[in-house]
Symmetry: C5
């Protein structure tokens, strides 16, 4: 998890180093100038200050894709007067989600969660939002545009994003990611339920590995959700001038979603523990059945063998041996003992 | 649990979508205008503004059944100036119970719990109450009227509901649901106690499944009770103008009931854990008994068989074999050894 | 536990229903008027308002026995202006202990714990105290007078109860019950210690049931102690006019006792868990011993039997068989092998 | 633990009863009057008021040994105006350590811990300190003078005790006891480490008993340390006139020691749990080894015995039996099978 | 852990005793006078007051290596007016990391963690920083200069340390150590992951010891990280004049790192628990496999041996024995039974 941090050790504090593993060969800056009536989108490969000229009464949204573009991000940061340590945080993907207030802007760091459908492993990509007077700068780590749905809706003037300020846009961006969390949780929940259903029939090693794997993924999710919950609680209660009271109620709603998701995470964790208990009980029961069946076989034949070996003794004077029907009597007695023992075992419920 | 949430992912935030699975073909609005002296009930299939004309000095109670009637609920919401995100919350049954204060009204979201007597699975249906100056709007998800008992008592002027304001009505509605929680808890408690009593005699797989099932249901109940407890604590301490001081003491009483129910839930969970421990000890004891009994059989006959096989050897010179009573001596010795071993096992307590 | 609650479901909130199972055929009201110099005790079978005439500079203590006397309690409640929901609480024995301040009086609800010496099951009976200006009303659920010791001391002018106000009397009444908690805890502690001592010798099923039983009783005790601790903490810090500063220090002392008792409860719970672990280790060790001993027997005789059966083969040419001392040689070898194996097992520590 | 409490039940609250088990036949009062320049020590067998005449600009330290001297303690309490319930607390050794502020003095109750080197059981003796203007009264339960080191240093004018006020003396007395806690913890830590080292070789029952014993002792220690930590936190932050600001920093230092000791306690508890897990794994491994070895013996000889018994059959026509070398062939085959099975078991790693 | 504390017991409180185990034969004082433009470094073997003459507009950094140089540290302490108990704390390596404000300076105590690459055991060395107006005094326990990287960067004017005040230097020193924590955590994380990968193949005792060892190291780390997190939280929020607002944001950043590291510690602990569960399941599975395989062998041959011994009986009249093909028929039947049992075991899945 913290593998890449090592790159930074020994450097001067404040060094701007991308600690993730994505490399976007082409930088990608998307500048969106919008108001209720106008929408102006510009895609740039490198940062040009003149592209930022605002439209009248409009808001500015700068979206930077690829946190490995350290120079680009630094120059944007300098242009907007971002604190050096904040720039360092934006490109350091080891950050916990958090909300921080600076003098001239607010900062929210949060994750996009995606699920690899084959390995069922969760990837978390870091996003950052800088929210100021009439502008919002977003930074995303991933290749894919996590903010696509929001962008689409702005283009088609669906929802209130166009008519509201940057704070509402910030809400819309976070809300879209939290919606994504629900998708990921749904898939994990299905996995857990499938596991529960198949526990009687699956291979033992598979189950053990799946439980361990799902446990790890839940820890990963929780590390994205829990601090974001705190961050949004703080953000919805802030008295910053950059967040209007009317937006707070929407942030509070996302906060409620995150509380709900945290509960779901805890419940899934409880479920996994119960399944693990079930699995252990399962194994020991299966083993018990093997041992029981096999021991029964031995126990039946050992007394019978004893009788046979008695009549295999070579004493001169063993009257039964001389009896012409002795052999058949003994076979009969053995058969009766056999039936008796089976009956006894059945009665005690040991042969189910 | 969060299966239906998926329908909303990708939509603009603020979309009003019912996330439950009930469909009430016929909308049902029940309008009750009441004062100490008058009671006027109107049932409507669709919303008509003129039906809301108040009676003098009276209160208005609008009860909407069926959260899938999104259009109806939206128009009521608009009429009473409800915040869009509140309307979204009312029809989103994934909400945790909560209490929220808005400028012109208060909102309380809570669940009705019913127990399916056959499967012992709990169904939670979401209700919402909007409480304002002289009016109360209630929304219920279920087909059945969860508020029937309150309505009956108002008709028959039993209790103080008629003579008091909307806040007392709100209390009466929540209190009726919390009474229902007691019924559900009582049934679960009985189930747990039955489980405890039958643990010695029941089938192992049944017990395991019942414990897992009851654990899940307890988690479900806790998710309704715990947040409602917080909500009512908040509601009873609020200084909102819409809740009179004299009503707070009643809300505090419901809060106390919920504290009690939470404790009961925790105790039942503890009991289930103890029963599970007992069950595991049970299984391993039963297995031990099988193994012990069977091993004892083997251990007794193996030495005896050894003696028999000694005298089955074909040496030319084995004096015992020539002794005319040798066979009977050996049988006697075997019998003595048999008794000796049984005695030893009994003494060590291995044959209980 | 909450069995009787069901009686109340569906009734109007505020219904005064006794939820316990005691029925005192004869109501019993004891009115004590006391001051430093005078003591006047009246026993009534029903409530008479004229019996309440105070003595000069004196305090009034009304003690009602039997919470099933709902009518009586209601009329006393009305006489002293008690809130309807408070009267409901007094007779509802499902209440958690609590302290509440009303405008004209304070209310403290707490339990009397008694231990059935035969079944070691704890019975908790609910008491309520209403404390106002110069009067104290106490309600007790049980048949026996839990306040007997306090009454005796007042009669004999022992202690400061006579010379102090109603608040000190309230303290004396609670303190007497908390003393009773110590007695109950002492007995449970003895039981736990006896259990620990006898774990090596007792019957397994007995131990399991005793542990489960004691666990349940500890949960029951904790449900009386923990909320009372909170209640007394609140009561000792209140600035109510009905509690003098000089009494607070005594209430604080009872609070300290309850903190101590809570710790004791937690420690006993820890002890029980340790004993359960010990018990499980015990069982598996005993089983191991059986298995070990029996398997050793088998392992010794199986190789010996093999040798015997070799010489039981019927080959024409087996030179040993012809040797006149062959039989004795083989017996000797068998004996040596027997000794060798016993020696080896002993050396490995498997025959302890 | 609370055995002696029973003596007090039923008595009037406020009864002054010593609840410990020490009886000091001879009361012992040590009065120390000290200033930077003078030191005046008087030992008394009974309390005499005239012995308290102060020296100019000096402080008074009264040290009472033996909490069973109830009369003596009561008369000192009355002389200095101590609250009756405080006197009751001083002689009631069931008190949790605590710090309390009264109008004219402060009170600190804390324990002296000593370790019985043979049984490794911890004894906690209760001390109390009353701190007022220019005087300090200390009460100790034990026979031995726990404050000896402090007294010695005062006599020899080592440290700052002589030159500072009663509050610094209070600090010195507590600090000396906390130093003693370190000694006790060190010994327990050594015990735990010894246990860990010897776990492979020790007797099983011994280990189980030692773990249980150490767990109990840790609980005992925690009951002395944890409340004292809270008490000293409170004492170091108090704004009482009886504690100078310059002393607070010393009290804060003792508080830090107690935080450290609490952490150590928790760590030792964790260690004990780990050792218990190790011990359980140990036992089951040892048992596994026994079972494995013995089962291997059986499994090797059972097939061989089968072959022998085949050639022990008495069929008229068994060609092998007639072969003059048949016996040796069969012995050879048996030997090869023996080697083969040993080889197979070794390969699968079952004979390690 | 607290072994050396014992040295101090019985001494006067306030004794300055080094409680660690390092002895630096040569004291080492490094005095660095720096401003944006100048850097002046002096290395001394003993403290000389005249070496402290400041440079104009510059800051002073005194770095003392070796906490066993008690006299040296005391004289520096006296020179700068450090509180005696603070000096005592600096040389007592049992201190928890902490931040404390004194009138004329601030104090931060924190650890340097290093990992012994061979034994994977963590060594924690204590550092202390005294931060005042224009000066910083640092004390380090270890032989190696933990502050080397910071010193190097100052020499080469990398980063902002030269241009900022003592508070920024304090930040740089702590930040360098926290970077070191990341290195240690990375190595432990690798160890845990290696353990997880090799669990199927490693020796059982090794795994058990490694898990126990890693658990202990995590406890050790947590004892350095957790209190430092609290200390830095406090330090970043202080309103002391010695820390500029612009530095607080850097301290907040280190605080965030420590929160992240604490989470990592908890996750690693969870991982270790999961691995332990896996390991236990592993062992019991391996044992099960042994038992199963061996029991199967027995169960197959016991019935076959029974048949053989039947035909080893010596009855006069056993018709099968006279049949010239009887022997071969019986061999055939045995073979069929053998195949049948193997088939049955395979079908039930017992021979996998």
């Amino acid at each position: 998890m913290s593998k890449k941090k090592r790159n930074k050790v020994g450097l001067s504090p404040g060094s701007i180093i991308y600690t993730g593993k994505f490399s976007n060969t082409n930088a990608c800056i998307r500048i969106t100038k919008y108001s209720q009536d106008h929408l102006n989108e510009i895609d740039l490969a490198e940062f040009r200050i003149d592209a930022l000229l605002p439209i009248p009464n409009g808001n500015l949204w700068i979206d930077v894709q690829g946190l490995d573009q350290v120079n680009l991000i630094t120059s944007i940061g300098n242009e907007f007067g971002l604190h050096p340590i904040l720039i360092e945080n934006i490109v350091d993907v080891e950050q916990r989600p958090k909300f921080e207030e600076y003098d001239n802007y607010l900062c929210l760091i949060f994750d996009t969660l995606t699920l690899n459908e084959e390995t069922y492993s969760i990837q978390n990509l870091q996003n950052a939002i800088i929210l100021g007077q009439d502008f919002l700068i977003s930074f995303q780590e991933g290749h894919d545009d996590s903010f696509r749905t929001v962008r689409e809706r702005m283009r088609n003037t669906i929802g209130k994003t166009r008519s509201k300020g940057s704070d509402y846009l910030a809400y819309a961006l976070v809300d879209a990611q939290v919606d994504g969390y629900y998708l990921v949780m749904d898939r994990l929940e299905e996995e857990v339920e499938t596991l529960e259903k198949n526990i009687e029939t699956s291979n033992e090693t598979d189950i053990r590995q799946k439980i361990l794997h799902l446990k790890k993924e839940l820890i990963k999710i929780r590390r994205s959700i829990q601090p974001l919950r705190e961050a949004l609680g703080k953000m919805s209660r802030t008295d910053s001038a950059y967040i209007e009271a009317s937006t707070s109620i929407f942030l509070k709603d996302v906060f409620d979603h995150l509380v709900y998701l945290m509960e779901l995470t805890e419940n899934l964790k409880d479920m996994l523990s119960s399944i693990y208990d079930l699995y252990i009980a399962q194994i020991s029961m299966r083993m018990n059945n093997v041992m029981k069946a096999l021991t029964i076989i031995s126990s039946i034949f050992i007394p019978l063998s004893f009788i046979a070996s008695v009549y295999g003794m070579n004493f001169d004077n063993m009257p039964e041996l001389r009896n012409p029907h002795g052999y058949f009597y003994v076979l009969g007695i053995m058969f009766i003992i056999l039936l008796g023992m089976i009956g006894y075992f059945k009665k005690r419920g040991w042969m189910d």
